[in-house]
């Protein structure tokens, strides 16, 4: 098998907090990311989903070394990203870009659109030139904005247009890999759909790989080839998109799917909601982190932390009782999805 474009292994990030109590020497530690591993192939989109505080955005920033990992390895196109010195790292960033969530906060208000788009290239040593200006115009065209907008400032645009500018900046250096960190979450639905489609078009045209970080499973389903589900700093399930939605194996994945609002009022039903909330990452529960909220939890779950293991081809899950739960859930799941399909047609 070919080496993947990106290979993340054993990635860990612990944030030390300032202690609120001076008598206690040891500072509290947030284990934001606690041993994450995944690959992304050329042209592939990996969706990374989970609730706020699960560490998914931290993963994106660690890969780009916007923050330094505590441990682990990140290899991009065969090179060790974490060992890179500042100069080669900066050079590498041409190939690794990021699109942020908030299009109001992530664009410098003092710069024109053209300056924003070309900044990554100029920081790579390019010199301003008519060709570069033409490149900015072409890039704007790629994201569906007229070239004449390039002399305007961010405040003159709507949220959707700003996000297109953010995308233009990310793809201007012709990258091979882009982290989309909740890139469509702040947008209105009609605009969100436009931007999701735009990201797909750009990927098809330029052969980019995405790490698509999001909390909306329905959105991620439309764009991701594979999906990793995170809970309190760990991946609890990872599978191909169809496999994950067809037969979610982890109780947390099942709970996340059950929580997504229905698509039609006829589908309203009494649903078993997941209990409780995400625990504090300062004091994660022992054993399986999900056990206090899990309807299937048993003694083993309270003491032993389950490892991610392969259950079916390309389908990994970190749950002691995944097989039993899958067998028990098959009947109810089947009837629920049949109901959903019926209502659809």
């Amino acid at each position: 098998m070919r080496e993947p474009l990106l290979r993340v292994d054993g990635l860990v990030k612990h944030f030390k907090l300032a202690s609120s109590n001076n008598l206690i020497r040891q500072k509290p530690v947030v284990r934001a990311v606690n041993g994450i591993a995944f690959d992304i192939a050329v042209g592939e989109t990996l969706g990374l989903v989970g609730e706020s505080g699960c560490g998914k955005s931290t993963v994106g920033r660690l890969i780009l070394r916007l923050i330094e990992p505590t441990a682990g390895s990140v290899r991009f196109a065969g090179e060790d990203v974490l060992a890179m010195k500042p100069a080669p790292l900066r050079h590498m960033r041409k190939d690794m870009q990021i699109i942020f969530q908030d299009p109001h906060a992530s664009l410098n208000p003092r710069l024109t659109v053209e300056e924003i788009i070309l900044e990554p290239l100029l920081s790579q040593g390019a010199r301003p030139s008519p060709e570069l200006s033409r490149h900015a115009a072409d890039t704007l065209d790629k994201v569906g904005l007229p070239a004449r907008y390039r002399h305007r400032h961010p405040h003159q645009f709507s949220g959707g247009q700003r996000q297109r500018i953010g995308i233009a900046r990310a793809i201007a250096s012709n990258p091979r890999f882009v982290v989309c960190d909740e890139a469509v979450s702040a947008l209105d639905v009609s605009v969100q759909a436009q931007v999701v489609n735009l990201l797909q078009d750009i990927k098809d045209e330029m052969g980019i790989s995405y790490l698509f970080i999001g909390h909306d499973l329905a959105v991620v389903r439309h764009i991701a080839d594979r999906i990793a589900v995170m809970y309190l700093g760990r991946i609890v399930e990872m599978a191909g998109t169809e496999s994950l939605f067809g037969a979610p194996l982890h109780p947390y994945t099942q709970a996340l799917m059950a929580a997504v609002p229905v698509h039609h009022p006829r589908l309203r039903r009494e649903r078993s909601r997941v209990r409780g909330e995400l625990p504090s990452p300062l004091r994660p529960p022992p054993g399986c982190h999900f056990h206090p909220r899990c309807p299937f939890a048993q003694d083993k779950c309270r003491s032993e932390s389950p490892l991610l293991r392969t259950l079916a081809a390309g389908h990994e899950v970190a749950c002691h009782f995944a097989e039993e739960i899958a067998a028990a859930g098959r009947n109810t799941e089947a009837s629920a999805s049949r109901e959903a399909t019926d209502a659809h047609h």
């Binding site: 639905v189 329905a218 439309h222 698509h263 009022p265």
Partner: protein, 330 residues
């Protein structure tokens, strides 16, 4: 529908923040009713005027806004209330919760004190009785160990718990109407599900009507009895929730439904509505949705259609509403 008067009735509401400027008003001729115990969703994207409409009902608009139209609650003209009279309406008869529970709770007081303050502002109660009642309320909104939580400050609670506290405060005086402005938007999907269930349950226990403002058609599908779809300050369509989802009579409603990503769909591409909301400073001459509308005809660019009854209780502001049912809908 019952023959008696609705709980809340809004007629020809216009809210203009820049009168005389030629800009489109933020809310432009909105009329709808809410019956007792009814859950009405006002749905629309940013800039549709949905939140401004809610603020108008609560009398919370800045004095600089030019407001016209009628808002009556239990037969009482809310727009004629004095400040003093408002104080007995807000909180006691109409409760409100907002999107961001962190900014609507006071960070320097424990949540128990904020509940007690609301209770004692509207009812004569001893401190002890009001603390008991506050703990009851926290219990009813699903906060574990409510007695201990009374002394917690807002920052000690998660976003979901803070929103539960807001709901407890809003319901503390058993209002007849609860206005909830995007109450679950800032929350995770599992917490959103819990809160929607909670709102539905509380509707029964407190016998309260709910005006829920949202941009999420999924939330509408989960809880609404009736739906008001707003676009650029005007009502595009209103109907019972089944008509909205089964046979929308406005292309904007249809577009909103189609562009909402579906968990069960294997389609890679999402259906979109082309273009974006009109600029309020330079609105298109006819129907405000016409530039984005797949069904638009020449006449749509000439006149701005008024909301009218199409079939049953369904109202649409589209000239082609009748033709829509004959489309490709199943």
């Amino acid at each position: 529908m019952k023959a008696d008067a609705p709980l809340l009735s809004i007629r020809d509401l216009v809210v203009d923040f820049a009168p005389g400027s030629g800009r489109l008003p933020a809310v432009d001729g909105v009329s709808f009713d809410i019956g007792a115990r009814e859950l009405v969703c006002v749905v629309g994207e940013s800039g549709s005027g949905k939140s401004v409409s809610a603020l108008a009902v609560m009398g919370l608009l800045p004095e600089t806004a030019a407001v016209s139209g009628a808002i009556s609650f239990e037969g009482r003209d809310l727009r004629a209330l004095t400040r003093r009279q408002w104080r007995s309406v807000r909180g006691q008869q109409i409760g409100m919760i907002f999107q961001e529970p962190m900014t609507s709770l006071n960070p320097v007081f424990p949540i128990g004190r904020q509940l007690v303050e609301t209770l004692r502002a509207h009812e004569r109660m001893s401190l002890r009785a009001s603390r008991d009642r506050a703990a009851d309320l926290l219990d009813q909104v699903g906060i574990p160990s409510p007695r201990q939580r009374l002394d917690d400050y807002p920052h000690q609670l998660s976003g979901g718990m803070r929103q539960r506290v807001m709901i407890a405060i809003a319901l503390s005086c058993s209002p007849r109407l609860l206005i909830a402005d995007e109450p679950t938007t800032a929350l995770d999907v599992t917490i959103q599900g819990q809160l929607l269930d909670l709102l539905n349950d509380l509707r029964e226990t407190f016998a309260t009507a709910i005006l829920l403002i949202t941009h999420n058609m999924g939330v509408v599908a989960e809880v609404a009895d009736r739906v008001v779809v707003m676009y650029s300050g005007r009502i595009a369509e209103q109907a019972d929730v089944f008509s909205i989802f089964d046979a929308p009579r406005h292309p904007y409603t249809e577009g909103l439904l189609a562009s909402t990503p579906d968990l069960f769909s294997t389609e890679r591409r999402l259906t979109t509505i082309v273009g974006s909301m009109p600029n309020p400073a330079a609105p298109p001459p006819g129907c405000l949705f016409a530039p984005r509308c797949p069904l638009a005809l020449d006449m749509c660019a000439r006149e701005r259609p008024e909301l009218r009854s199409v079939v049953g209780g369904q109202q649409s502001a589209c000239l082609r509403a009748e033709q829509m049912a004959m489309g490709d809908k199943p």
